[in-house]
Assembly symmetry: C2
Homo-oligomer: 377 residues x 2
């Protein structure tokens, strides 16, 4: 996944220190892949995955819309040239003054998952469109979503009814099947739940229009994942099954699936050591770790592909750790990572699939290490 | 732990948004407590816990020395007015060019835990003093240290011997019993291991001088912890037991114990909701979370005391979550937190014991949320 453009950049520019290089051509291909796979859906890029202005400007030019978490992200998207009708304020947890600010900026689509949030939107953004997030079980996702967002489908009915009563436009339902979701059928159950909310409210004369199918589209790390086309077909089948010939407007919100495989982290081996003379396990310490780019190795959830110049040599199991004085700054220990036995201090390594959830996830300056630098090419 | 000075600051200044306020008077008391408890030990403040310049300047004026993780931290300490003889480069994972830079800046005390690191120090900081970190089992610590740092005691002998051969000053041994260590006997076993390294090398004519006893001194969260005095007595007993009348120079490196209880995070309730009508569990969402200040709630390791203006009301179990669109941004879910049933949107809460490992642990701008602001008073 280190493209030739990324390799050329590293070879000619030789940036100092650890960095993430992201190839916009890959983002463009990913966008076009989603359009082709789901031609009926609007694409709302999940800005939190990587808010680099170059990415936002490219996606604006390609016609993308944007899923945002905060007023700061809304402003970044507007700065990149998008009109506010292309923005969703997709966070279900918003201060009322932030809703008011988004409304002033022209944003008219808001996520909710409880009556209290509906009441805030009704006061701060009168007449806006709201969609209610429904809980899914997240089975099959490598990064399951817990129960933080959403409510059960029965409660979504009351939430949207309340929105209607308060003069908002009860616009639809959203769900999220869990990040890096590789089970193609995960969308089916959620779409079934969504269709029930549609039917219940239709009987009361409240006609929903939108299903926001969220993200969860995986990027390729070590295992092969189904292609965007395979996702598209499975989702279209489920939509037909549950909505018949009244298929609603649909939205998808890819984040990792849009930028994950476009980025590569270039790191340096700082130390290779053992804990005792007879230890079979080697410890490899890098200049990036959990606090300056690789936060998603938390609980060893995401296993990134790693490339070195010595990959044809014999490989031995290694614990992979970051450079801070924090004992939690270890990426792979429970399942050691096979790396060349010849790997040594000063060697460069490439950590692939790191275009999403790396740069802004980095800590401000923990231990004095600066956040990872990013080059978008 | 919200001191009157912190309460007055909040009442008069009314800062906007979530913030951490730290009372320097408490830091001063903590420093004096350590001096009193361990009058024979030099105190090296672990800068990573909180590198705010006001804290560093206060500790410089009180006579403290400093444990640093990077050249950036070394420069901060020098900027605060410390001379380089008061600085230890305590990270066992260092780039050779960073060792050279520290040496240029006058730093002459370095941590190592393997022969490879000794060789770097010998090349980049000729003649410097090195201490070798020894592995401990971390039993009894709330934040155990895994095996990331240190080597077994037998290997420490070879590491220090190699340092001696390369013209470095084989200066001592360090260990760390694990952060927030509440077992007073944890130091005893480590001191026993350290004394064996001293005796083995003494037979070869290599006379070590220093035992760096690291940190691990707890701050008071919800449970009462032993006082600094109790730690001091237990440690002095172990030193006498293992070193007899040849007690070495000792260093301690408190971080959390120096600043943890000096800080309070002021946060706002953004949303209170349930996932279904019959749900017994309430979800309370704050404007701070794992990515902008409360990273140490990872795995619910640290349970901070929380104060609200409604604490005399009935309390019910709540899941406590942060404001981002990240499902991992949940502080307490496995063990819900009892909070007033009357708690509602817009209420202020104080999260106590948050002076350490909060401000610099925060992410750069994940989801567009800025890092938590800090006021040192």
């Amino acid at each position: 996944m280190a493209t030739q453009r990324i390799r050329d950049f590293l070879a000619t520019r030789r940036p100092e220190g650890p960095c993430m290089i992201l190839d916009l051509d890959v983002v463009r291909e990913n966008y076009e892949g989603f359009v082709k796979a789901l031609p009926q859906s609007r694409i709302f890029y999940a800005v939190k995955a990587n808010p680099a202005p170059e990415i936002l400007r490219l996606l604006v030019s390609l016609g993308s819309s944007f899923d945002t978490a905060t007023v700061a992200e809304i402003e970044m998207v507007l700065d990149a040239g998008a009109t506010p009708d292309r923005i969703s304020f997709g966070n279900t947890i918003k201060k009322e003054r932030d809703i008011a600010r988004a409304y002033e900026l022209g944003v008219s689509l808001y996520a909710v998952d409880c009556v209290e949030e509906v009441e805030k939107v009704a006061r701060a953004a009168p007449g806006a469109r709201v969609f209610c997030r429904v809980l899914t079980d997240g089975e099959g996702a490598e990064w399951p979503l817990s129960r933080k967002f959403g409510c059960v489908p029965e409660m979504a009915v009351s939430v949207l009814r309340r929105a209607h009563e308060l003069g908002l436009q009860a616009y639809g339902v959203s769900f999220h099947v869990g990040s890096q979701q590789t089970n193609l059928k995960a969308w089916d159950r959620a779409l079934s739940d969504a269709s029930k909310v549609f039917r219940t409210l239709a009987k009361e004369g409240i006609v929903l229009k939108l299903v926001n199918m969220g993200g969860g589209f995986p990027t390729r790390y070590l295992k092969d994942v189904p292609s965007a086309q395979a996702y598209g077909l499975a989702i279209f089948d489920s939509l037909s099954k549950h909505f018949g010939n009244r298929i609603p407007e649909t939205i998808i919100e890819p984040g990792r699936g849009m930028v994950g495989n476009a980025g590569v982290i270039r790191s340096e081996v700082v130390l290779v050591s053992k804990k005792s003379e007879n230890d079979k396990l080697r410890w490899v310490y890098l200049d990036v770790g959990k606090f300056n780019g690789l936060a998603e190795t938390m609980d060893e959830a995401i296993r990134y592909p790693i490339e070195t110049a010595k990959d044809s040599d014999e490989k031995v199991p290694c614990v992979l750790a970051g450079p801070t004085c924090d004992s939690a700054d270890v990426m792979y220990e429970k399942t050691p990572y096979p790396l060349p036995i010849s790997l040594t201090v000063g060697d460069e390594i490439l950590i692939e699939g790191t275009g999403a959830y790396t740069t802004t996830y980095a800590s401000v300056a923990f231990n004095g290490f600066e956040p990872i630098r990013s080059y978008v090419i």
